[in-house]
Amino acid sequence: MKVGVVTFPGSLDDTDAQRAVRLGGNEAVALWHGDADLKGVDAVVLPGGFSYGDYLRCGAISRFAPVMTEVVEAARAGMPVLGICNGFQILCESHLLPGALIRNDHRKFVCRDQLLRIENTRTPWTSAYSEGQEIRIVLKNGEGGFVADAETLARIEGEGQVLARYLEVNPNGSMNDIAGITNERGNVVGLMPHPEHSVEELTGSGTDGLGFFTSLAAAALG
C-alpha cells in the first residue's frame, strides 16, 4: 500500500512517520502541503509537529493548505487517514473528526511513555490490535486535551468511535480519558500519542506502536 505522509511548514515527525510506514510493510510517499496532489497514494498520515507555528489555533491554518483539500475529499470518499498529535488537531479543525483539542489542563507540555487501551479495532489503522489490548507508546503534547459538547461525546461513545483511552493517568485533561477517536465510517483516525515513535527497540518506548502501520498492510491484503 502506498501511504502518503504530509509535510507542513513546522511538521516535526514526518520522517519518523515515513520510517514507521516502511517498517509496517508499506511504501512511504512524501506529500507537500503546498501541492494539491496526493500522488496516487492509498492512505495518508498527517504527522505531528507545530504546523504553521500553531498560529491562531493548532491545525487551523494547515486545514486550508492545498494538500488538505485533496485529503478532505479523499477521506470523505473512504480513504484511510491517520492524524497523529498535530495531525489529530488538523483533522478536528477540518471537521473530519468531531470535537477539538485544547491546552493541557495542567498547562505544561507533557512528554512520557503512555499506557493506552485500544477500544476500537475495526479501523484500517487498528485492526492488528485486539480489543482491550494495552499498549505503551510515546506521548508528547501541549494542547492534547480532547473536548466535545455533551451530545457529541455521548454520540461518539455510543457509536464506538473512541479508538483509544489513556490508562494510569490522564496526561492532558481529555474528556473520558480519550486518546484517539475515529469518524462514523471508521476510515479517519486521530490519535494524540505517537505510535510512529514506538516502532523499534532501539528508541522510544518499545514497538507497541507498530500495529498502527502493520494494520494497513493487512487491510491491503484482506
Binding site: G99, A100, R103, D105, H106, R107, G145, V147
Partner: protein
C-alpha cells in the same frame, strides 16, 4: 504620525472560549493576579481580538464577509464564540496604552 489618505473602516472580531470549555490560559492569569496583589478576581477568561481593516465603508456585504471569516478561520465553532463589531476609525486610539 500617520496620515490617512482615505477612510479606513475597522471591524473587530472578538473570539472567546465557550463558557463550558476549560480555559487553562485564563486560569494561569487568574492564578498570577493575587500573587501581584490584585485581590477579589473571581474569574479570568482569555480570548483573541482581530482588528480587520477595509478601505471605505463597512457595508452589510462586508459584515457578512467578516462573519464568514470568523466562522471559518478566526474561530473554531466547536470550542469558541465570536462577536463582530464595527469600530469608528476617527475615535479609535492610534496607540492605546
Amino acid at each position: 504620525m500617520t496620515t490617512r489618505l482615505c477612510d479606513v473602516a475597522r471591524v473587530v472580531v472578538a473570539v472567546m472560549p465557550k463558557p463550558e470549555i476549560l480555559d487553562p490560559q485564563g486560569k494561569a492569569v487568574q492564578g498570577a493576579l493575587p500573587r501581584l496583589g490584585f485581590a477579589g478576581v473571581t474569574d479570568v477568561r482569555q480570548g483573541k481580538r482581530f482588528e480587520i481593516e477595509f478601505d471605505g465603508e463597512v457595508t452589510a456585504a462586508v459584515l457578512a464577509e467578516v462573519d464568514q471569516m470568523a466562522e471559518t478561520l478566526l474561530s473554531n465553532p466547536v470550542i469558541e464564540n465570536y462577536t463582530v463589531t464595527v469600530e469608528d476609525s476617527e475615535s479609535a486610539p492610534e496607540n492605546a496604552q
